[in-house]
Assembly symmetry: C2
Homo-oligomer: 198 residues x 2
Amino acid sequence: MSNKGSLTRQSVIDKSLQIFSVKGYYNASINDILEATGLTKGGFYGHFASKEDLWTAAYDKAVEIWKGIVFKGIREIDDPIERLAKTIENDLQDYIGSGVFDGGCFFFNNLVELSGQSAPLSGRILRGLEDFSRLLASWLAEADRKGMLRPGLDLKGIADFVVVSVNGAAALYSASRDPRILRETVMQLRSYLDHLKA
Amino acid sequence: MSNKGSLTRQSVIDKSLQIFSVKGYYNASINDILEATGLTKGGFYGHFASKEDLWTAAYDKAVEIWKGIVFKGIREIDDPIERLAKTIENDLQDYIGSGVFDGGCFFFNNLVELSGQSAPLSGRILRGLEDFSRLLASWLAEADRKGMLRPGLDLKGIADFVVVSVNGAAALYSASRDPRILRETVMQLRSYLDHLKA
DNA sequence: TGTTACAAACAGACCGGTCGGTATTATCTT
DNA sequence: AAGATAATACCGACCGGTCTGTTTGTAACA
């Protein structure tokens, strides 16, 4: 049972997660990661086949981390609208606002850079965001079935709008480091959700 | 009046605007720009002192283009809320959705990449966005003075939220190329603005 | 328990190629 | 002829990735 190797591998992923979140995919060099981990090229390429391979592993880990934060205590909330509001709050305050990743949102930062430069990598992120939007839309549908919403709403449009706003806030917070952005967005989205109610 | 030179300079700026909007600052190479313009290094560096110098010139031109599109027919609108809604629509449909820049929004794409990598360049973009938000806030204040809004609203927070959402939509549209994103965001923001009214 | 054998883990030099930028030289325009 | 404009060749630094060789941990055997 040699776990020394997998320990090293994990530490490389953890460090690269931070570096990718700050510098993006292309601007983060293998040397940056070597410097942060104390490894050398030979050691590194024993664990990962390529830079893209490392990024993919980092992405998967980022998803894990993100889910743990954003969906914390969510399943216990019966009211689907409140569940949605709490998810937004978790995302902006506990994920973005708490410095989980140095560069802000790993996903969005990388998505913007990779759009139009690498369809495989950006497509992976995009699919994740779409899944998230679909989940939010299913909660809205649940609220609709329970008669909690005004009739005739575009539920998918609302879910997309939430995802759009949350990610926009994440990006502008990363750039400005102004916590007002996060607080304001949480409040405005809460008020926006309120006026959807029947 | 030597205008051959300034013509070349302008064409370099125009081409680089597109390239920067797609690839961002670091991933766009001088060679990319030379290839697109047919120039060589010697010619290029006769017009621009550095890559950063070119980017700055491109940024200024992008601001010009953006203003021309987003504020078209805006001054004629008396109702400040309608003015705000129309500005959002112009931005998302005529600026983002009409392929003015190949990569979507020049400003936001570059902002995300440059955040935490170049304070001078990202700071310039950020200041532009803050100016925009302040302008929108002044329109909201105007509406407030005219008694059009519910009392006790956080006007700056609302303006920031609009900027956040518009830019989030721009980024997600660039990545997905799904025009629904733009249409939905325009509609949701319109409905959001409506419920602010007295 | 000490020795041998083997594989996992890592080090560091090196590859072709690209990066932003410079210096020099040639070619236009006036 | 003179000055603006552009072409060419080149620089050192860095890019992702490969290569060979050394160290280290571990298990089998005596």
